[in-house]
Symmetry: D3
Subunit: 221 residues, 6 copies
């Protein structure tokens, strides 16, 4: 797919759709396990991320390697526009995988955000630059001698979902879903329709109709 078409699509999604409606559509398409677990949260509440997964796998280590950053630098420097960095780190509680300088680089490479199945640091600056980072928590500790990137561009488990490189990751305040490439076109089309239906239902509920009536009328809830 071309990067410009992706960029337009992702900007539309960020503006007009939301994660819970896409989750409902994935359910209706039979993809019922596409939401990451609730422990991965945006660093600031307005953060919305949508882009193609650029996957990274790291692990815990217990001594300082000769060059602790080589594979991590390669993973970051290979980010392309419309990518979202998606790191699976085996959830160490010791170290922060990502921070201010990696965010700066990622954004400079055109990446649209980062999703880390682990802790990060430099939350204040990341919010200041409005770079949407999602993580399990904050930790001021550097990864050197604690975590080591062992691969990028492979399938990873992030937040309980297997993410393949190129899958669309979509996250907002409610959490994150992974849209498999096989159904991304249909999922997004259907999500547009459902948003319209929910707007009508919301209007009727606001004027006092019973939920029973509104659900029978529109089939959404």
């Amino acid at each position: 797919m071309s990067s410009e078409r992706d960029r337009d699509l992702f900007e539309f999604m960020q503006r007009e759709l939301y994660v819970s409606v896409v989750s409902d559509i994935l359910d209706s398409l039979g993809y019922r396990e596409q939401a990451m677990d609730a422990t991965i949260r945006p660093l600031y509440k307005e953060a919305i991320v949508v882009g193609r997964a650029h996957t990274v796998l790291s692990t815990d280590v217990y001594e300082m390697p000769s060059d602790p950053y080589t594979a991590e630098i390669a993973a970051i420097d290979s980010l392309k526009p419309t990518d979202v960095l998606d790191a699976s780190t085996n959830r160490p509680t010791r170290t922060g995988f990502f921070g201010d300088l990696l965010s700066t680089t990622s954004r400079a490479r055109g990446a649209r955000g980062a999703v880390i199945d682990g802790h990060v640091r430099d939350a204040r600056r990341i919010e200041q630059m409005q770079f949407p980072v999602f993580a399990t928590g904050l930790r001021p500790i550097d990864s050197a001698g604690r975590g080591l990137v062992i691969a990028h561009g492979t399938p990873v488990n992030c937040g309980g979902v297997i993410v393949h490189p190129g899958d669309i990751i979509f996250g907002d305040i409610d959490g994150l879903v992974v849209i498999p490439q096989a159904v991304e076109k249909e999922a997004i089309e259907r999500a547009k329709v459902k948003v319209a239906g929910e707007n009508q239902a919301r209007n009727d509920l606001e004027r006092g109709d019973l939920l029973r009536e509104v659900y029978d009328r529109y089939g959404v809830l």
Copy 2:
């Protein structure tokens, strides 16, 4: 009790009291286990909820029922003014029990908020409508085929406290307490007095008195 009297009472409580002082009064009345556990949090930090518990019990299921929403719709449509929806969901991590459309309906029915012993979704809209929802986390996933309402109007366990229908639930940023009906009148009267005492103590502490002196003077801390 009449609904208008309740409404006036709850608006007074929301304006003048706070949860920690009511918790202290319940302690002094011998009700020492009335605070829900710390995992149930307001969706936005200004949220304050006070009203009578309208209880709902749901459970996890693993196939799509013929009509997944009938009991849930009945539970929501039966909300009355000054009610607080109080759902005990066995804390699934998979699904979100409550969201934007249920919040819209609940508010249209006159409910003063919702307390969910589980995850919810649509946090952005819920904050926009300033409907005070308390929950254990956020999750974009719909409940159909995952959770099923099995009763409403029964005693439930929410956040570790047994809640009877009609108990007053009072929540703010510090957490939630359940005020049993047998002592609600006395608890609220005593809380007013304690708030006044704390204001005096705070003034004396701000001007530099030792805590030892101030505690001996007013008996609050």
Copy 3:
């Protein structure tokens, strides 16, 4: 050390340094376990704390003591300017160790903040007074008959780090580090230098240099 010199140092640190850079310096000095775990969080996101640890140890109890507050009052009243109250409470989930009146007293004594390895209450007022409190969560419940101070001024374990009285505690949105007195001077000097290096690296990354190039140039990441 004189209190004025400390105050100037801590105000400099609060203004110019941040916790993650100090953590990196402690790593480079061989102190690799000085960050408290990620569950201790600031009550409001702008909170920054820096000061000398005034340690307190409390434990769970299951009946009301004859005087539940004597040792706690003594611990608070002995706070000195530039101190940070640092309480190790065995992490009860039942009770809140600290709140509005203790914050008022602590600030009146000159303390620069509080770090509690447990829950606290009165979060709204604490934020209003901009007193930087860090804790594991919120809980409206008083400690009387639930928690009891058993010592102050002893070594404690707070967030997984052994804190000695007089150690510098430094916390911001990323978490907290404990700077041992033996290396405080060197750690702070080196941190100033590293901040400058990171600013240069950030500039180069923002203009599009690869992380590989920038890391080779400055050795920071």
Copy 4:
């Protein structure tokens, strides 16, 4: 399938196969998520269970129902020979779902064992009668007013695996696997072959061959 054929099959499996080899075969057939999680353990270490799942779903309740046992009794009385009772209970820590009298009944109905995603009681008698029960722990507390059976014969989640009525459940000291009906024939055939291969490999390893050589020779490990 006829009950006698099942009985012969299950006795063969109990005698000649083991759970880990069946798990490997399910892996090779592309069914990689068929093992229940490690918290469900046999009550006594020699226990082996194999039979067709008779599923039960129960949930937590917080008041005594008018008849707490009706649905539970129906679920137990409908057990047929070669069944294994498989209960999904939302993992309450309060109550024990199963015990001595239910074990006695289940065995009298011809059931081959019970797998409970929750606690049980009467462990001593259950071991004495050598009825293979697997559970997450022991708890002396009765379920009346605490747990309520809400369905039987529906798909359930037990130990993280979706179990359909009629699936084969096979458990021994290493844990439990669920064999989907679509592949049960092939899985069992292949497992017989793998057991033979492992016996040869074990012999070669015992006489001192390197693992590298033996794995190259037989392809098992």
Copy 5:
């Protein structure tokens, strides 16, 4: 009560009753929260303990006290015949509160066992001497400088139950219940009757009666 009468009673209970039947009786008397949680387990599976609670409270500390054992020794040396040592330790994972020499002393003082809401050590010798110890796990580490006894003879929370000195503690493989003194006589009388009823029910179930019939006949399950 006299010690001899207690001893006879406890030997009867150990021989003829079991914990789950006493738990059912406490339920029927309205004492529904008397079972310790499922994490406290016997060190060896035949262990049965019954006696009067001699309570001890200890807490975590982080430096070596001048005399680490004084209060612990006093707590152990004050054990009387028919006592059960019942220690509440705030569940440290670091240290083992109890071991071989304390078991030897406790038995020499006449104590009937020990229940520890934490870890212990020397499991092999404790089993060899057949002294019934219940604990949350095993840990080879001594308590000196890690845990400190701060009181004995006070109410404690052990396994989630408030235990008062003199309450009867009864434990077997299914777990532990605490029998409040106010109902001990009635609870034990009723338990004898229920054991007889269960024996009849078991006989009828073994010969093939439906659970429905047997429950209607005897009202036990």
Copy 6:
């Protein structure tokens, strides 16, 4: 050190010492964090392991590698007599790192046991061959495509203790300690002396002396 001298030493330790006494000695030498956490347990209760650590590090992966076993086979085939395999696996709950065939190989290579910071399988056969394996639990699932060995012979974290290749690991029913090479000689000498002292103390306690007297006499507890 020569392998024969090691073998004699380890057989002496297995026969005459126990883990809790060595833990006390390490405490007295200032090594107070040498015990692995309580979740790593022997597969069968008589298991005792003592030998030099042969370390292995593995991590979670989410696709089948081209050769899933190469590094694992190399790690096992390089075991030497008197080694104990010590694997740090980031504690996956999905897979079992070790089993029957690896145990057979390890024993054939002369290894004295295995300590796995994760799950294993084939517990029945491992007990039959009396090969002392310690692990966090049992799981029938193979590691291929789930876990991958990434190094051996490096420092690892196992059960919360940093283990260097060549450190002595000593485990029995109470848990495991790691004896650093720098103090192994002194630690073992002192442990012999303490065992003798404890035997005297035990005798005095058995004949009824108070713990106070015996502790004053021998200084052990």
